[in-house]
Amino acid sequence: MNNKRQTLWNHLLATPYVLWMAAFIVIPLFFILYYGLTDADGRLTLSGLAQITNPVNQKALWLSLELSLVSTVICLLLAYPLAMILRSLQMNSTSFIVLIFILPMWMNFLLRTLAWQTLLDKTGVLNTFLTGVGLPPQNLINTPAAIILGMVYNFLPFMVLPIYNVLIKIDRNVENAARDLGANGFQTFLKIILPLSLPGVISGITMVFVPALTTFVISDILGGAKILLIGNVIEQEFQILNWHSGSGLSLVLMVFILISMFVMSKYDKEAEGTAIW
């Protein structure tokens, strides 16, 4: 009797969530599938998917892959030492994480990216500084490098957090044991810390790679609308109400997202690496 009531209570609690997620997460994805695989008359066709063979779109996809890979690598190279340092300093993590991750978000993401325009402009802050110390001004804005900088800037916290969360869970005794058994600092890192932190690294990589691959705002603002990424192409298709091509291209994009999700699920069973607080 009691158990039966318990189960009923449980179902009652879960129902709003299940209905909501079915209606607004699962079913909408089938709409993309439907539009991507049909034409305006509702007939089954591959022409939406075939949009990707269009040279302009293909170039955009390759450029997106290239830039998002480079920024993911840079994020990893910056974030891993930072996470290690934070771990070693054993400072109050919560306040620091709020400072690095939550607080900047209260300044709108578009404005923060726009601020880089001011910093990178031909007559901007950085170039004024360069000419001030006698160096030639650099052409920074509206280049792929500026887009990479924007990606690294916006997504770095998503790399730092999962790595940090995994690193602080590593038992100090495991490390001490390795040292006692004669490993030096570098060996301990290579054989103990690095393998144990891998789930955080993997989840960090997917959390940076996917948004970088699919952004259209950063390339819009820092690329001067001259550099098209795959996100820009899809956004433009929907601007001109070309839903079938846009959905077809989104499906192609989702293949890459699914690959990274699959890799992540292999390493991060409970998805705890993504936990923030």
């Binding site: 879960a14 709003p16 969530y17 997620m21 306040s95 709020v98 209260w106 999700m261």
Partner: protein, 261 residues
Amino acid sequence: MVKKGVQAAKYFYIALIFIFLYAPIVTLVVLSFNASKSRAVWGGFSFRWYAALFQNSEIISALSNTLVIAFTSALVATLIGTMACVAMNRMKKLPRTLMMGVSNIPMLNADIVTGISLMLLFIALHFSLGFVSVLLAHITFNIPYVVLSVMPKLKQTNRSTYEAALDLGATNLYAFRKVILPDIFPGVLSGFLLAFTMSLDDFVITHFTKGPGVDTLSTKIYSEVRKGIKPEMYALSTLLFLSVLILLVIVNRRSDKTAKQ
């Protein structure tokens, strides 16, 4: 001596990352006090954009939309998410994994895909795009953040105390309120705050699910990117940022004091 050098290098590295993350923010704060309308020229210190801000009805209405959507969506998401977590915690492994998996989809999926899929849904249902569609979309992407914050706290709670409460005659609701909620409350609160912040900062999903005539701060800014941002926007962001900063300092001071006592 070497140790001291290493320590200094560590702080130096942290400082560099901090400068990188906060340089644009400082830039925006400086621009909000710039008397000149151009971003490239410094026209002297001035409060004129702060005064103009409160006269700009478009920005004020975008701000109120943003705050109402952020608050409502975070509240609803916290309710639905927390309820689901309590249920999931008592479920068998398979349904629990399934439910957690669904909550991971919007977190791992690209915003552009989530936004487009919701737009296609609303259009297919002949649901007009506007304030309500944006609100529904925000609740949707906020739920996973709540689940993510509440679930770990719930796992730490002791099941037996809850069952003991039930055995002693407490109703489910009473036992939840008196036994579980106090334990998971920090998680619920941080879930709410995270959801609020995420909603506030969202652009992509709002961009696809909004209709003409409705603007949040993000979409308002985006529409101004080409023709030039109104400096009032810098003033508003500075005010928002500073108020949160001050709030955080106060909260930290308070919790430091209580910790000492």
